[in-house]
Amino acid sequence: MTNPVLELKEITTKVNQGTNRELTILKNISLKVNKGDYITIIGTNGSGKSTLFNVISGLMQVSVGKIYLNGKDITNLKEENRSKFLSRVFQDPKLGTAPRMTVAENLLLALKRGEKRNFLPRNLKNYFPQFIQLTKSMHNGLENRLNAPTEVLSGGQRQALSFLMAIIKKPDILLLDEHTAALDPKTSATLMNETDNQISRGHLTALMITHKLEDALKFGNYLLILNQGKIKFIFGKEEKKRLTVNELEKFLI
């Protein structure tokens, strides 16, 4: 039997440990993510959604429990070293890109995610055909702005770029942290559809946090509900189909 891509084993996360402000955020969470799974995650504020991602990406250490990636224990692996296997898109478009570097430079950085950066000329121009093709897939004019610093891009273009940077080198696991939440409804819907296309086309394994219940039902093959640091429910694709937004709202309370 093959190992799950990602396995969380009885994860508990505490902040301010040992002080009187100690707070337990994730409580005894266990989860197996298999290859090709696309899990949408919902939960109220403070339910631990972002902490879950922080723990998986290595931004935050677990207090108790183990994390396995492809069967390998990565619990104590630093964030920089986990980047070899996983990539993440943040909610804030500013977090995912280097503002003074151009779109093409950002893409090249991401193409070498997790690799040793050598002392050889980067030969950026050689990558342009690949970058043009990739950016065209987002249908938002990004392909015409490859030489523009990312700080001058619109929020939608910048977030589309963050997403492309996360998938340009296929990650074992893709974390999408409400990546369309900061965008206007139309741009958000476009990026969401494109995200879905790219995930199914690339057979990516992905976890996606969202606040939009419609999106949580529409996309992905599993739906996970977090509540007060615990996994409250997991729905499979067939169960998801039968759910309505109203019913889902009740699960959140």
């Binding site: 280097a98 950085l109 950066r117």
Partner: protein, 299 residues
């Protein structure tokens, strides 16, 4: 004319300081106060070595190496010791003051009658003051080319990304701590060499010669940026040298106007403050419009 050539020569020699600080201040977003210590440290090491019989080239190299070590210490204090950047720099700068006194055993050492980089047959055949122009150009060209090449490698791009968005850099697997340490090392190495060159050019090393160096370095960077806007990275590196030359010419102008040389640091700080405020002043008083109005034909 001689004065202008001398100012250009000084500008070229001091440009190395600006180039060093550019790496930390502009690329890594790290205001590194260490340079105020590394500059006289480079001078002290080079001059003391030369007085001990070491060849000037080797002595200049020593100055670079010792600068690299100073940068390493600041880098470790910041990344591993989690001391804020400004304080880490100030700590190392303060410590270096004592070390400089140890190296020189007194507050001032002269190179009178000793060999140095500026005393050789070839340079003595050049017209007056062209020796500093030659040496300055030689060093600044070598290091500008080196930095320009490095920044355009995959490694250099990761270095730039570290300063631009450290969180993103980390998530792409870039070891940001290592990048910051390395940046500080190279930067302070250049500043150490600059100190060695200036000391040899002046003919002495002085314990207080570091005071105000960060302002001079920032002036080179910012004057270059204010005058030549919207540049590519390579052009920006060259603009630092041009900024350094313009700064020296400005100082020359100020001295010609009859200001006291004791007021140089005050004047430097004022020049820098004005340059740094220019974008704000431009916005507030709509300077561009006012200036353009002055040269446009009247209706």
């Amino acid at each position: 004319m001689n004065m202008i050539v001398s100012a250009i020569g000084q500008g070229l020699l001091w440009a190395l300081l600006g180039l060093g600080l550019y790496l930390t201040f502009r690329i890594l977003n790290f205001a590194d106060m260490t340079v105020e210590g590394t500059f006289p440290l480079g001078a002290a090491v080079a001059v003391t070595s030369i007085t001990q019989g070491v060849s000037p080239i080797l002595a200049t190299l020593f100055a670079g190496v010792i600068g690299i070590i100073a940068g390493l210490i600041t880098g470790l204090l910041y990344t591993k010791g989690k001391i804020p950047s400004l304080l880490a720099g100030i700590l190392v700068m303060t410590a270096i003051y004592s070390i400089n006194l140890r190296i020189m055993s007194k507050s001032n050492i002269s190179l009178f009658g000793k060999a140095n980089l500026f005393v050789n047959k070839f340079l003595s055949n050049l017209p007056k003051y062209f020796d500093s122009v030659f040496i300055g150009l030689l060093f600044i060209i070598i290091f500008t080319l080196f930095i320009s090449f490095s920044l355009n490698t995959n490694f250099g791009q990761a270095f730039i990304a570290t300063g631009d968005n450290p969180q993103m850099a980390k998530s792409l697997g870039i070891k940001t701590d290592r990048m910051i340490i390395l940046g500080l090392m190279i930067s302070n190495g250049l500043v150490g060499i600059c100190g060695a060159l200036i000391a040899q050019n002046n003919g002495y090393a002085d314990i207080n010669m570091g005071i105000g160096t960060i302002v001079i370095a920032l002036a080179s960077i910012i004057i270059g940026e204010v005058i030549f806007k919207n540049l590519t990275l390579n052009q920006r590196l060259v603009a630092v040298t041009l900024g350094s030359i313009i700064y020296r010419l400005l100082l020359l102008l100020v001295l010609q106007l009859g200001f006291n040389t004791n007021d140089l640091n005050l004047i430097s700080a004022i020049v820098l403050a004005i340059c740094m405020m220019l974008p704000q002043l431009e916005k507030k008083f709509n300077l561009k419009k006012v200036l353009l109005k002055g040269v446009r034909k009247h209706d």
